[in-house]
Symmetry: C2
Subunit: 169 residues, 2 copies
């Protein structure tokens, strides 16, 4: 049971979008550049976030990705499910019905104890993830990001976004 | 984030071993037959359980796999980690340090908020899994297994184990 690295990318892309001034949107190209990631792979994650209604695409000269709702209304669980899928992590193939001792399907009244226990643990995991919003992550980021990094990021955006405007004028 | 089906196989194999009378062991061949699984794949899972010290191999004419310790001392977490590995499910590649805004490594004092939140959720998941033992699973199985299945299983084992003895006499 492992997550793909796409989750780290997507979550960081979302927290970057959450940190931007309102009405700013970023094309996948700039997001990829900011994190030094291959654009096609990051774009794939952004499409998943978009399909899940977490980000939206804005058109126009300053177009690109933006959060589709306020950071306080996007949970870590939303992002995890957008990237990894909403399915349960433990999939029960009803192994107990297989082989020489299996009996008719209607004799099994509920999922087996192994499946129930696995799903109970997943529910605890999901509850934790649902309790963290992008607003919380942003707040943690504010506390943890080295001031030098914040300054460099700001300068980079200023540079990039003014370049984009200049190019279009 | 998904488990492989090997986990369902391994957990069921362990609970079958837990249900057997003491001093009974089962070769991978019979375990595979009981669950109607391909022997080489099941054998691979049994080897992982063995490497993790959950099952052991007994030699001799009635040899095969047996639990290495009492069912009350084997947790679901032990089995999950034996099969899926003990690593964290969320792996942080320190994405925040990448790209134009990254700063020197020693400026980052602790893992980022996304990683910490993911790991906190994993800890909750792990706590739940650690709270369920094979003895609990066996008890749930006693309550849930259709009586017809228990009878068929018993007859099958009786048949198989006496065949094995006959063959060796
Ligand atoms: S039958 Fe699927 S986990 Fe038990
Ligand atoms: S740097 Fe890895 S999750 Fe944030």
């Amino acid at each position: 049971m492992k997550h793909t690295e796409g989750l780290e990318w997507a979550a960081h892309a979302c927290s970057l979008l959450a940190a931007l001034p309102p009405d700013t949107s970023l094309p996948a190209r700039l997001l990829a550049e900011f994190f030094d990631l291959p654009e096609p792979y990051l774009a794939k994650q952004m499409q998943k976030l978009s399909a899940a209604g977490i980000v939206e695409t804005r058109r126009g000269p300053r177009g690109g990705y933006a959060l589709a709702r306020p950071p306080a209304q996007i949970t870590l669980l939303d992002m995890v499910q957008a990237i990894d899928g909403p399915e349960r992590q433990f999939r029960c193939t009803e192994l107990r019905r297989c082989g020489p001792s299996g009996v008719a399907d209607d004799k099994y009244l509920r999922p087996c104890g192994i499946a129930r226990s696995m799903w109970r643990a997943e529910a605890a995991w999901r509850r934790e993830l649902a309790g963290v919003t992008l607003a919380d992550i942003l707040k943690m980021g504010m506390q943890d990001t080295p001031p030098e990094q914040a300054a460099k990021a700001l300068a980079w955006f200023h540079d990039k976004l003014s370049q984009d405007t200049t190019a279009k004028e």
